[in-house]
Amino acid sequence: MDILLLVGVIVFVACAVLLKDMMKAAICLMVSSIIMGIIFFRLHAPYAGVFEISVIAGLVMVLFIMTISLIGGDADVKEPPVPIAVFIFLFLVFSLVVALKIPGLPIDQSRVLPIGSVKIGEVLWIRRTFDIIGQVGVIFAGVFVLLSVVGARRKNGK
């Protein structure tokens, strides 16, 4: 299961690097960070997971999307096929290495935060509800700004 998630992370991160369409790249990054957050949970670091999701998936994404819309990223970009092939190759090599090496890595039990097994939902919704309100604010702000920027651009276009 962990391996699958790790693979997912790497796939999406690599997509983010390789895709030319910035919007798609940003979304790939977001997905990867969400998976990353889940991995944190599985490693008994629920707060790290929640923060990862809050900051990267929520906040930084909105920032990216705003930046892209501000500088007016092009929508019609052709994706070259070669890098993807290279990437798939690299990915296979990497996952092989991971599959062979990672399980053997020692885990320092003393550094693990003293939190028992909790559900991701519980931490996200119950322990840090106020963050959610903040996230709502972030998303609202992002949406409104995007709307206004797009509206302005449409007007200019006409």
């Binding site: 963050d131 903040g134 702000a141 700004v145």
Partner: protein, 490 residues
């Protein structure tokens, strides 16, 4: 529940805005947004009236008797901030009724402004560093949006610059929070304070990040570009309250309440303050654009606030906090005046303007009030806070800084009077002979802020006792020095 409305109501109204746009383009958004700001002002005044003067209100929100774990905390410092935010946001909201007409969809604008206000209230009302960070970012995004509303190449550039630079500062702050979390296992301010954690490395990260949010030299570079390009309401909100909430308030919270206030922090804050005061004032002297000049002036004035708080003595903190409140009022007023000039004449370059005083009596008069207040001329509000800061400097044996602070306020008077003379006095330029004064709501909001300036100046003692002293007490608890009475310090 009552405290939570400061965050909830603006967010709800903001979300409704998009639907409202379908029905009414102007009137309903105007009304709804200003009603919301007005309600918040009333609520903040109500809380102030029932405020016992010390301690804190803490609410943990419940939803059908289930613990929602939204912890809203309000103490003296938060109350001062909430009050400031409410006053400035209401006057900016009123100003926008007429002013924002030419900047695209009004309901979208109000939605962004409401999110900004909600986020600032969130920053102030939370007791958790990470939540604070999220709200700072939310408010930041809203301000980038407001900058980009200017709809010119420059405003996009300004917004972009602001965004990129701000992202760097935010990453410092986030790194700092992460470090604190790793070392203490919590992000709750009280728990951090109880753990007694202190690390120079994270203090540096916080200082850098929040100095950027304050706009202190040399982290100020986003401010002039962003303010110049934006519609005047953004600088009024941003310089008036956002900088205070995201910069000064957080600095005070973190260094006085969360981490121990050390001599090093005090030293760095005093130096940053002094450098900002001098460089900001000198740069302002060389500008001709109203908004750009005021942006540099803001840098200089925020320097005073950080200087006052950075001294770390009771008197210094009181002076700094009072100046924060005063600066919020008079700087918003000055930016709104600049907006009014831009609204009627289409430019804010003082070299192209002249003699507007006759046709725009309200703007001219309130501008005089604002500038005298900014320069610290008695009996206006800026005088008292600057006086307290200078006295605190002298009392702390920082005579040189005290003199620099006084000299810089002379410089302030100099450049602001220069602007007043160029723009409002003298002979009117031919091309502006037929201009008329700005519409009612703009005048109303400017006159309102001007009256607050005069009122605070004439009766500063009640303000000091009601709002500033409890706030200063909160900070002083951090230094664990006992002090309370007004009689002891004056």
């Amino acid at each position: 529940m009552f405290l939570f409305i400061f965050v909830a109501i603006p967010l709800i109204v903001a979300s409704v805005m998009l639907i409202i746009e379908r029905f009414s383009r102007d009137v309903l958004p105007d009304f709804l947004a200003n009603l919301c700001f007005f309600l918040l002002l009333c609520a903040s005044i109500m809380i102030s009236c029932s405020w016992p003067g010390s301690g804190q209100y803490m609410h943990i929100l419940k939803w059908f008797s289930t613990n929602l774990n939204i912890k809203v905390v309000l103490d003296g410092l938060s109350l001062l901030m909430i009050f400031t935010i409410s006053i400035v946001s209401l006057s900016v909201g009123l100003f926008s009724i007429n002013y924002m007409g030419k900047y695209g969809s009004k309901s979208l604008y109000y939605a962004i402004l409401l999110v900004l206000v909600a986020s600032m209230n969130g920053i102030v009302l939370t007791a958790d560093l990470f939540t604070m960070y999220i709200f700072i970012e939310a408010a930041g995004i809203a301000s980038y949006g407001l900058v980009s509303l200017g709809r010119t190449r420059y405003s996009t550039e300004g917004a972009f610059k602001y965004l990129v630079l701000s992202a760097i500062a935010s990453s410092f702050i986030l790194l700092g929070i992460a470090g604190v979390f790793v070392n203490t296992g919590t992000t709750d301010i009280r728990s951090i304070s109880a753990s007694g954690f202190s690390s120079k490395f994270f203090i540096i990260l916080f200082l850098t990040g929040f100095s950027f949010k304050c706009g202190l030299v040399p982290f100020h570079t986003w401010m002039p570009d962003a303010y110049t390009a934006a519609p005047a309401v953004l600088p009024a909100v941003s310089s008036g309250i956002f900088v205070k909430v995201a910069g000064v308030y957080t600095v005070a919270r973190i260094f006085f309440n969360a981490l121990p206030f050390s001599a090093g922090v005090s030293f760095v804050m005093v130096y940053l303050g002094i450098i900002s005061i001098v460089v900001g004032a000198l740069l302002a002297l060389g500008q001709s654009g109203l908004k750009r000049l005021l942006a540099y002036s803001s840098i200089s004035q925020v320097g005073y606030i950080i200087l006052g708080i950075g001294i770390g003595t009771p008197l210094g903190i009181i002076g700094g906090l009072l100046h924060m409140f005063n600066h919020a009022i008079f700087k918003s007023l000055l930016f709104l005046n600049a907006g009014a000039v831009e609204y009627t004449c289409g430019t804010d370059d003082s070299l192209k303007l002249g003699g507007l005083g006759k046709n725009m009596p309200f703007t001219s008069t309130t501008n005089v009030i604002g500038l005298l207040s900014a320069a610290g001329v008695p009996p206006l509000n800026g005088f008292w806070s600057k006086l307290i800061i200078v006295v605190a400097l002298f009392k702390a044996n920082m005579f040189l800084y005290g003199f620099i602070a006084i000299l810089a306020s002379v410089l302030t008077l100099g450049y602001l009077l220069l602007i007043q003379r160029r723009v409002f006095f003298g002979k009117i330029k031919e091309c502006f002979e037929n201009i008329v004064d700005v519409p009612f709501w703009m005048n109303l909001s400017m006159v309102g802020l001007g009256l607050v300036c005069v009122w605070v100046g004439v009766s500063f003692a009640p303000i000091l006792i009601k709002w500033v002293l409890p706030a200063a007490n909160v900070l002083m608890q951090g230094i664990r020095t006992s002090f309370c009475a007004l009689g002891g310090i004056l």
